[in-house]
């Protein structure tokens, strides 16, 4: 995914602001990256380099931390982040079927963003709501007992029309 110059500029600015409140200790690395992600929604390369400079460590060490942890996203997420729980309880209650539904409806794979950047799809390990399995988290809101038809309903609530009777597998959906 290509970042625009504007996006890079914003990323640098925000990262700079965040770094101001952190001392130059390596122990601050993860909290800083978390802050960057909270502000920008992801951790761009330029931000990692800026963080490396601040902490006085090689950029590659920052990359290796950012890539080790599942939490960090290296590309901008969609406007709506869809996270499907793949924990035990959710899996046994059909979580993979729900994930497939999202993939099919959005025509993207896990860790991808729709071309219009409206939606991104991720899998998460147990969000601790196993009693409501299978669970999908949309923008921090937990939806329990999801069924394939509820996937359509949820998309509908975001103004996405599922063209009934036309969609083939892999075909993109219409949006408004």
């Amino acid at each position: 995914m290509h970042l625009t110059e504007e996006e890079k500029k914003v990323a640098l600015e925000q990262t700079g602001n965040i770094l101001e409140s952190y001392s130059r200790e390596r122990g601050n690395l993860i909290p800083i990256l978390q802050q960057v992600q909270e502000k920008l929604g992801y951790v761009p390369l330029v931000a990692m380099e800026e963080v490396a400079r601040h902490l006085g460590m090689p950029p590659v060490d920052v990359y290796s931390v950012a890539t080790f942890y599942n939490q960090f996203r290296l590309i901008p997420p969609g406007k709506h982040q869809i996270k499907v729980c793949m924990g035990t309880a959710c899996h046994m209650k059909g979580g993979n079927i729900i994930l497939d539904c999202w993939k099919r409806r959005l025509s993207i794979d896990v860790n991808q963003v729709t071309p219009d950047r409206e939606f991104s799809l991720e899998r998460v390990a147990c969000v601790g709501c196993c009693t409501m399995a299978p669970v999908t988290v949309i923008d921090e809101e937990v939806h329990g007992r999801v069924t394939p038809t509820r996937v359509d309903g949820l998309l509908f609530s975001f103004g996405v029309k599922i063209p009934k009777g036309q969609q083939k597998e892999g075909e993109a959906i219409g949006r408004e």
């Binding site: 690395l29 924990g87 959710c90 196993c130 069924t147 038809t149």
Partner: protein
């Protein structure tokens, strides 16, 4: 010191008492409640109260453990016993205000149970589970506002900290040792011994860390406790700090638990303001403060040394032990790391004594255990029961058995490090030692109940997939051995298993166990070993007959509509199919185009229960046979 604390108690009791002078409504807004719509209910209740001009207090509380019945609302009205209502909808919430608070009808048709014995409504303690449950660390969960420290203090909170501060640290160590408390993070290590090691370790600077990483999928006890009663854990952490001589402490909370993070941060803030954290706590001369460190979504970071690495800004790679963190942990300094539940027990033990704690549970595992019941069980949720309770009591008395009249198959316990126990193990008393003998593990207490529709090979594959993805990659056997095991399991679930695969899995399991440094790799084969041990026939059916007996493995099943059961004028399945794989044949009976079907089960769920025309067949070739006879 006691004087300062007594003042705090008096003030808190006044706050608590003031809740009782008019109607009080509690709404459970822990994550489970929210997922069921509790915030909407909260809004409705507040609006209705205004509409009816009723002067009542509304509080957001945590989770009572009855997650199956969320959203849950509890009403205290003078003259009535406190009553909890389950499965509350906006309509029911409105009725509670209108009929019960404005009127005098307690709407018993919606009541789940009363909180106390009375002669109007059955109480929770009258339930079969009420006889078994022995809440110690869950006792205030769902009954107090986690964001008001006064509630916790009014019910006895922080008294243990005051008691401990008035004694020698050595006394606390002895008390915890005498209680026999074992760590609830998985391995069951004696807490007193850990604290003693750290206390005696040389070093000026020491740390205490609450491990709230709770990475086991299917476990949510720690989340529920932190969201429902964070002060209990904070108090335990402060006592730990005093005992070992630490001035700084941390909560290491996983990123997926935003609400827990928020509530813990608030709790820390309030404790500071009340003088229960910070410098010279309660005038004792002891100073201690706490920060929250958020995890970053790596399961292995629940392991102590990996957790420390991540706090130091490194990738979360475990390292060799010894030295143990208790002597050389965070920043090389002596560090005590304890699980959320372990710390939550501490104030209770200090308050009521080691002997009291030993009265519950078994000789080797004193106290209670908190289990999270999920999966195919009617009453999903949390339960705290004495150690040594049997699985049968948990599944049938606490959980009310298996839904939809299906039969019990196994319980998966202890997360990816644990194993699957079959029906024959139902009467086994569960504690740390009995479970490891049976090839499972207590783990942190997550329990996923499986029924006849769950495939044991598939669940083994699921866990291997999990551990394989979460392996930090440092040990070759953990990284590559689990990969190879996963490949074999995947092949089996796709019907491509070969004779000898089971033996190969058993061999690899031994290699992975012995070739791994940390608990992740050492226990990764457990789900495979225990499913082979107890469900070998299922593996064989997959390998020899390309058949999934539980009808779960997608490559080995096909959906099929029974012509004799299909109701011609019903189109429910057609509409439900996301890929238009269902069409009517010349007799208007529905048929599935197997080429198009993506096996999503929508049709099976959509077909009305009076017809039940959609079934699954395994192996998928059976469809061709049936199809031939039907059409011919």
């Amino acid at each position: 010191m006691t004087e300062i604390f007594e003042k705090l108690q008096q003030k808190s009791r006044a706050v608590w008492q003031s809740l009782r002078d008019r109607p009080l409504i509690l709404v459970g807004t822990a994550t489970c409640g929210r997922a069921a719509g509790a915030l909407e209910i909260l809004k409705v209740i507040k609006e209705e109260l205004v509409k009816h001009g009723i002067d009542a207090q509304v509080l957001e509380v945590g989770c009572m453990g009855h997650c199956y019945a969320e959203p849950l609302v509890t009403v205290y009205k003078p003259g009535f016993p406190p009553i909890s209502y389950g499965y509350v909808t906006a309509g029911i919430a409105g009725r509670l205000v209108e009929d019960f608070l404005a009127g005098d009808d307690p709407c018993l048709e919606f009541a789940l149970a009363a909180l106390e014995a009375n002669d109007m409504v059955p109480a929770l303690t009258d339930f079969p589970r009420g006889m078994i449950e022995r809440p110690i660390i869950l006792d205030k969960c769902g009954l107090i506002d986690p964001e008001q420290i006064e509630h916790y203090i009014a019910l006895g909170g922080y008294a243990a900290l005051a008691t401990a501060l008035a004694r020698e640290p050595g006394w606390v160590v002895e008390e915890i040792k005498a209680s026999g408390l074992r760590g609830r993070g998985g391995a069951g290590f004696p807490t007193g011994r850990k604290w003693e090691t750290c206390r005696l370790a040389p070093g000026e600077e020491k740390y205490v860390i609450c491990n709230a990483d709770e990475g086991d999928p299917g476990a949510f006890m720690d989340r529920a406790i932190l969201e429902s009663n964070p002060h209990e854990v904070l108090e335990g952490l402060a006592i730990a700090a005093y005992t070992v001589g630490a001035r700084r402490g941390y909560f290491y909370i996983r990123a997926e638990y935003p609400l827990a993070v928020e509530r813990v941060k608030k709790a820390i803030e309030q404790a500071r303001r009340a003088g229960l954290l910070g410098t010279n706590i309660l005038g004792s001369g002891f100073s201690f403060d706490v920060d929250v460190f958020q995890g970053s979504g790596a399961f292995v970071c629940g392991e102590e040394t990996a957790l420390i690495a991540s706090m130091e800004g490194e990738p979360g790679l475990p390292r060799h032990r010894p030295p143990f963190p208790a002597t050389a942990g965070l920043r090389g300094r002596p560090t005590v790391i304890n699980n959320v539940k372990t710390l939550a027990y501490v104030p209770h033990i200090i308050e009521r004594g080691a002997q009291w704690f030993r009265e519950t549970g078994t000789a080797g595992s004193p106290g209670t255990a908190v289990f999270a019941l999920a999966g195919k069980v009617i009453n999903t949720g949390l339960a705290e029961v004495p150690m040594g309770t049997t699985l049968r009591q948990l599944v049938y008395d606490v959980g009310s058995g298996i839904p939809k009249g299906k039969s019990f198959k196994a319980v998966q316990i202890g997360g990816p490090s644990g194993g699957c126990l079959p029906e024959a193990a139902l009467d086994m008393p569960i504690d740390f030692d009995s479970l490891s003998q049976a090839g499972a593990m207590m783990g942190s207490g997550g329990m996923v109940i499986l029924d006849e529709d769950d495939c044991m090979v598939e669940i083994a594959r699921f866990f291997l997939d999990f551990t394989q993805k979460e392996s930090c990659g440092k040990c070759t056997m953990c990284r590559l051995g689990t990969r190879q095991m996963l490949d074999i399991l995947e092949a089996i679930t796709k019907g491509q298993g070969r004779p000898g695969d089971i033996e190969l899995l058993l061999e690899l399991a031994e290699d992975v166990k012995s070739g791994s440094l940390c608990g992740l790799g050492k226990t990764a084969p457990n789900p495979v070993l225990s499913t082979i041990r107890y469900f070998r026939d299922e593996y064989e059916a997959h390998i020899k007959e390309r058949r999934c007996p539980a009808l779960m493995c997608r490559e080995l099943i096909a959906y099929y509509i029974l012509p004799e059961k299909c109701e011609r004028s019903c189109d429910a399945c057609v509409g439900s199919c996301p890929v238009e794989a269902i069409y009517p044949n010349e007799d208007r009976i529905k048929v599935i185009d197997q080429q198009k079907c993506v096996k999503c089960a929508s049709c099976l769920e959509a077909c009305p229960p009076q017809y039940k025309a959609v079934i699954k067949l395994s192996p998928p070739e059976l469809v061709a046979e049936r199809g031939a006879t039907n059409r011919g």
